[in-house]
């Protein structure tokens, strides 16, 4: 199954500072095992642009400037046998400790 793993910040990070995993090792390990297809860190929301089309008119705006400290800061695209494997991949990501990770399975485009 394909999972989009959203890497998010969190207002209550882990307070235990021991053995924080290294992101480069994590990437290398999961890339080599074919469980991570791609991924990256995202620029801050101040660099984001919102695009909408309403009644044929293109609406482009800055932002969103959500006043929240819990935002998506990156993503990884995973290929795992099932949720248990995806959870195992997620638990070893450094942001599982410093933030939180959200696993969303791909639903596939209808039709």
């Amino acid at each position: 199954m394909k999972y989009m793993m959203f890497v998010c910040s969190d207002t209550e990070p882990d307070t235990d500072p021991t053995d924080l995993p290294d992101i480069h090792k994590w990437v290398e390990e999961n890339d080599s095992r074919g469980r991570r297809l791609t991924g990256d860190a995202l620029a801050p929301t101040s660099a984001a642009t919102t695009v909408r089309v309403r009644a044929g008119e293109l609406l482009v705006s800055e932002g969103p400037f959500a006043e929240t400290t819990e935002v998506i800061v990156g993503f990884d695209l995973l290929e795992c046998a099932d949720l248990d494997e995806a959870i195992e991949v997620a638990r070893t990501h450094p942001m599982a400790r410093e933030g939180r990770l959200e696993l969303r399975p791909f639903a596939g485009l209808p039709g």
Binding site: D84, I87, P105
Partner: protein
């Protein structure tokens, strides 16, 4: 397919058939259903991957049995008979739905499970029922969903009964169950028993669902059927995973606590404290079984300590002759591995009996220090009891009334007000 729900196991009985032969047949269906239902559902899910189909077909088999057995007699292998009917029904449904041939092929190859010897529990052969329990109790499902799904799928309790027990209406419960099954498929929750370190990590979550079921059946106004289901599940789990010490400990805890079920209320339905219970009404067979199971427990997990506490109570002739220092020691240990305000509160009670009310009040202050017991009527009742034993009757009575005003359960409120009345008499 018709979604009529013929409840499995203990819930069968109020069937449509009449007469003595019918009653015998209905009992046979009930007895066979207890064993066969989770096996059938678990096996059909493994082969078809379709939860709703598996449950429908298992229900259907029980319905057919209720129709046929009164006339045809109970088959020699009731479980195998039910499995065959359910499997054939699944083949019919899938054929109509023109699914992949592989599933049909796998289904056709299924032999009636009860015709086979009980599989050895080993690394290779995993009982389908165990897979079912671990999947229903997966941590990626909300706890309410886990409880409902376990009751529905493993125990075969009808949706309407689960709704009643969990205090929601039936359509809400139907939606909740459907959502849970859909989520299992969509989120990619595997149909598998974890192994190695993952098992150690996941087992407590499974046991927590059983514990929740049991306590729901055990609280003052709870539904006793819940406790029975929890005990049945714990027995099953213990049979399937005999090497897991905490599973045995949980079963022992259930049996020992449940041995007091009949003695916990007086004739008017009022709740009785341990002190006032007629110990002659405790279920000696359940206590003996609980102690035998506890004998197999070698590790000091949280359920092991709780079971040891329950064993101390179950084997004591009175509150006075209870081995309170042993109970106090068990709570000291439990607080070390599973700290919680409630454990700290129980520890204060135990020390109060073992070493006097002053010791109890000291630990009660400690237990309250974190704020976790603020507004907890049980903590107030404990304080009331300790104060009463120190001799301050007016203050104790006032505290009992304060606790009574804050409890949700009518039975508990009456019990607390009785204590207050006695102290002011």
């Amino acid at each position: 397919m018709a979604r009529t729900e013929t409840p499995a196991g203990a819930h069968v009985g109020a069937g449509r058939v009449t007469g003595a032969g019918a009653a015998v047949a209905a009992q046979a269906v009930a007895a066979a259903g207890v064993e066969a239902y989770p096996r059938i559902v678990a096996t059909l899910i493994r082969v078809t991957g379709d939860w709703a189909l598996a449950e429908d077909c298992a229900q259907e088999a029980l319905t057919v049995a209720l129709e046929r057995w009164p006339a045809d007699g109970v088959p020699d292998n009731p479980g195998g008979w039910l499995m065959t009917v359910a499997r054939n029904r699944a083949i019919d449904v899938l054929r109509r739905a023109t699914v992949e041939r592989r599933k049909l092929h796998d289904l056709a190859l299924l032999t009636p499970v009860d015709a086979q010897p009980e599989p050895e529990v080993g690394e290779d052969v995993v009982d389908d029922r165990l897979r079912l329990i671990f999947t229903c109790c997966h941590p990626a499902l909300a706890i309410e969903a886990r409880v409902a799904l376990t009751l529905r799928t493993v125990c075969g309790v009808p949706t309407a009964a689960i709704a009643r027990l969990l205090l929601v209406n039936e359509s809400t419960m139907t939606r909740r169950l459907t959502r849970a099954r859909t989520r299992i498929a969509e989120a990619g929750i595997p149909y598998r028993v974890p192994s190695g370190p993952a098992l150690t990590e996941r087992l407590p979550g499974v046991l927590a669902v059983l514990y929740l079921l049991f306590t729901r059946g055990y609280v003052a106004d709870g539904e006793p059927a819940f406790a029975d289901e929890a005990i049945r599940l714990a027995r099953l789990l213990d049979r399937l995973m005999p090497e897991q010490s905490e599973v045995a400990a949980l079963l022992a805890l259930f049996l020992l606590q449940h041995s007091r079920a009949d003695a916990r209320r007086d004739a008017a339905g009022n709740l009785l404290t341990l002190q006032r219970q007629d110990r002659g009404r405790w279920d000696r067979a359940a206590i003996a079984e609980g102690l035998a199971v506890l004998d197999r427990v070698r590790q000091d997990g949280p359920y092991a300590w709780q079971a040891r506490v329950a064993a101390c109570h179950a084997t004591a002739a009175s509150v006075e002759t209870t081995d309170w220092p042993a109970i106090a020691g068990a709570y000291d240990a439990l607080l070390g591995i599973r700290p919680s305000p409630v454990v700290a509160l129980n520890r204060a009670v135990a020390h109060g009996y073992a070493y006097g009310p002053a010791a109890g009040l000291g630990l009660l202050d400690e237990a309250r220090a974190g704020g976790g017991l603020d507004g907890n009527p049980l903590a107030v009742a404990v304080e009331a009891d300790l104060v009463a034993r120190q001799g301050d009757r007016p203050r104790a009575a006032a505290l009992f009334r304060q606790a009574a005003a804050a409890v949700d359960s009518a039975a508990e409120r009456r019990a607390l007000l009785d204590r207050a009345d006695e102290l002011t008499r």
